[in-house]
């Protein structure tokens, strides 16, 4: 056996989504971004984009075909979420296609494909910050009745919506359910609660990778064009270092996130190393946002702080998203519990495989 004759695929297999599908999604969202008018303070749901995504089978890309989804893997799903976030597409892809559809599958409930979002109501039936709540035909609630977890598909007509907005200006509404409607939901496995959290956190991490990479692109264009002291500011080493750190943290976030996706896809989420990988993705991506957001705004100067500029369409959601399915601190706590349980001998296997075996 020599270096040039070894079949590399017996050693390592690169993981990537179908390039044609990725290319299609990239083109679609680039065109969308380029046609968009100046950003507003509030994110407004784009019905026509949603219709277009529906037609292309992208609104429920990763949902099972039996329930009307497109049956693609999270690898393709990952490409969709990063591309959409990079265009700041104001559509509930995660809520509708990745979470609500999955919850309904877990509960064995039908899905007619009408726009849905998800909520985790409290004991009294109230859920805060439900994204796109006001636009949903039905809200899929994951609710603990005191003994077990239930999933209820509650039509909009049976909930009360109080409109609000999150940090990113996205529709983040308070949704009040009738407790009886929640109690009538289908009982699901107790693990569904944590699995839901992981799917949500991984989806948010993927979106944040998309936003980070677009922020890097915006900053690069800016520093190459903007001149001060007679030359493009990108020629100043201090500025180059700000940008290099954006690129580095984005790459780290992508590595952690793509690893979690790959592990989930390989095993249909069954690999016991998935929880560590998702927690690592949420932690790395969450902390990366601190550097990326700060440096991007610093390199962009005052113009990047205006409503008119595209940058805040990347930076505000990055900060809003990173706490949504568990705060960064909570993910660090989860990781710490795993690391401490692993101890001296177990830490390295944990790093490699997400388990101490």
């Amino acid at each position: 056996m020599t270096t040039d004759t070894t079949d590399l695929s017996t050693l390592a297999v690169p993981v990537a989504a179908d390039p044609d599908l990725v290319g299609m999604m990239t083109d679609l969202f680039t065109a969308y971004r380029e046609a968009r008018t100046a950003p507003d303070q509030f994110v407004v749901f784009d019905e026509s984009l949603w219709g277009q995504l529906e037609e292309l089978g992208l609104t429920r890309l990763t949902a099972a075909t039996e329930s009307g989804g497109s049956g693609a893997s999270w690898l393709e799903g990952a490409a969709l979420l990063t591309a959409a976030a990079g265009a700041a597409a104001p559509v509930p892809l995660v809520e509708h296609g990745f979470l609500a559809a999955w919850l309904l599958e877990q509960a064995g409930l039908p899905n007619d494909g009408a726009l849905r979002t998800v909520a985790l109501p409290d004991a009294q039936g109230q859920a805060n910050s439900v994204l796109y709540g006001r636009h949903a035909a039905a809200v899929v609630a994951l609710w603990h009745d005191g003994a077990q977890w239930r999933v209820a598909d509650v039509p909009a007509a049976r909930v009360t919506i109080t409109e609000g907005h999150n940090l990113a200006g996205e529709p983040a509404d308070t949704v009040s359910f009738e407790v009886a409607d929640l109690g009538a939901g289908a009982v699901v496995r107790p693990e569904v609660r944590d699995e839901f959290q992981r799917r949500g956190a991984l989806a948010r991490s993927l979106q944040n990778v998309g936003s980070a990479e677009r922020a890097l692109e915006l900053v690069l264009t800016h520093v190459n064009e903007r001149a001060q002291f007679g030359r493009p500011i990108g020629k100043f080493q201090a500025v180059q270092h700000l940008v290099a750190d954006i690129a580095a943290e984005s790459a780290l976030a992508r590595a952690a996130t793509d690893t979690a996706v790959a592990r989930a896809v390989e095993s249909d989420w069954a690999d016991p190393g998935v929880p560590f990988a998702v927690a690592a993705a949420a932690s790395c991506t969450g902390h990366a946002a601190s550097v990326i957001v700060r440096n991007a705004h610093q390199a962009m100067g005052a113009i990047g702080t205006t409503l008119e500029h595209e940058l805040h369409l990347m930076t505000k959601p990055m900060l809003a998203r990173r706490g949504e399915f568990g705060t960064v601190h909570e993910w660090d706590e989860t990781l710490t519990a795993m690391a401490v349980a692993a101890g001296r001998e177990g830490l390295w296997p944990l790093v490699l495989t997400g388990t101490t075996a």
């Binding site: 590399l8 690169p14 690069l220 990108g234 580095a248 952690a256 902390h287 990781l335 690391a339």
Partner: protein, 387 residues
């Protein structure tokens, strides 16, 4: 246009590699139990053990990427990658062979003559010949092309060769090594073409005219040296490759050098010991351990993916620079993080303080050696089209 990314991608380790890992892991577990070594930090710089190195050679874990006809194992960079990871995370004493394994072997394979390959590669693969690197000089650090060590043609007893004169510095392990590669000027500096006129010489460190003086590090250790070359005669057959190719040679293997697992794992054993101390409640449980473990996990993936890309002959220079900047920063952050948590103590008190103090003292070097992080950020900026 696809989004800008300097990410190396993700590659999944296959069972053949995992199997190899487990073999190495079982060996080091036994070695620790049998007292062959005590786990430490930054062992690829500070822990020399020729006998341990030879044992690795006997097990086929040296010269892994050297073809069998030169006494190597004829395996892949990926197999080498997992072996080195397993040795690094337990802080095994790997400094003796590190330089020869990582860069001298691959450089000889690529640029050396047949005679040079026969002369050195089998010995490197057995762990019998130990190399150092003679690049830096008192006045040439980051600006390596400014080296002043000079080589002038000469003939001794009918053998034509070069007389090399100059001072090399920061030569890690130079006092223990058998030979080093010295970068020298073979034609005068042309300010318009600064990278021209440099050549590398294979210098026997026991040759007449070589004087090695210790430089003691701030913790009292001796791993650095100053190497004076006073008209050392180097025959033509110890010129690496072609005269004038020195710059191309020193920059060509940088992808492997920069993205290797050692760039994030120098303090891994300290992190593992910290997790253990939290488990036994010797240290308060704190979320920094989880945060840093996650980062190391992502860095492992990046480093592995860069190796996979390089093994497939793809250029990964920018991704390698990114991996090194992040990795060396993180391994240093581990030292500082544990220092924030740990009660005061003496290195002799317990394993945690032994590792912690060594890590704190070694940390400044992490982000300097092999190209400083400031220089590497410049490399990344160039990769992004800013320069």
């Amino acid at each position: 246009m696809p989004p800008v990314s300097v990410s190396p991608g993700v590659a999944i380790e296959q069972p053949a590699l995992t199997q190899l890992r487990l073999e190495v892991r079982a060996f080091v577990a036994d070695a620790i139990r049998d007292g062959l070594f005590v786990p430490h930090v930054d062992t690829w710089l500070t822990r020399w053990d020729r006998e341990f190195t030879r044992e690795l050679g006997r097990r086929g874990w040296l010269g892994m990427v050297i073809p069998t006809e030169y006494g190597g194992q004829g395996r892949t960079f990926l197999e080498r990658f997992v072996v080195t990871e397993e040795l690094l995370v337990v802080g095994a004493p790997v400094a003796a062979h590190w330089v020869a394994e990582r860069q001298i072997g691959p450089s000889l394979l690529r640029f050396g003559t047949e005679e040079q390959k026969q002369a050195f590669l089998p010995a490197i693969s057995r762990g019998d010949v130990i190399f150092g690197i003679g690049m830096s000089e008192p006045d040439s650090g980051s600006d390596l092309a400014s080296v002043r060590t000079k080589a002038e043609p000469d003939v001794v007893d009918g053998v034509s060769g070069w007389r090399v004169t100059g001072t090399k510095v920061w030569t890690s392990g130079g006092h223990e090594a058998d030979a080093f590669f010295a970068l020298a000027r073979t034609s005068p500096l042309d300010p318009a073409h600064r990278h021209d006129g440099l050549s590398q010489f294979i210098v026997d460190l026991h040759a007449p005219g070589v004087e090695i003086r210790p430089i003691i590090s701030m913790g009292g250790d001796h791993h650095f040296n100053e190497v004076h070359l006073d008209g050392v005669f180097i025959p033509d057959n110890r010129v690496l490759g072609q005269i004038g190719d020195g710059w191309m040679q020193v920059t060509s293997e940088l992808g492997f050098e920069r993205s290797g697992p050692e760039r994030a794992l120098s303090t891994f054993h300290l992190l593992a010991e910290t997790a253990e101390a939290m488990q036994t409640q010797t240290l308060p449980t704190d979320t920094g351990v989880g945060r840093l473990t996650a980062r190391i996990s992502a860095l492992h993936q990046m480093s592995f993916a860069v190796s996979t890309a390089l093994q497939g002959h793809q250029n990964a220079d920018t991704a390698a620079a990114v991996t090194k900047v992040l990795g060396t920063t993180t391994e240093g952050d581990i030292a500082d993080y544990v220092d924030l948590l740990a009660p005061p103590g003496r290195a002799a008190d317990d394993a945690l303080h032994t590792l912690l103090h060594a890590a704190i003292l070694q940390r400044p070097g992490f982000t300097l050696r092999g190209g400083t992080n400031e220089i590497l950020r410049g490399v990344i900026a160039r990769g992004l089209g800013m320069r």
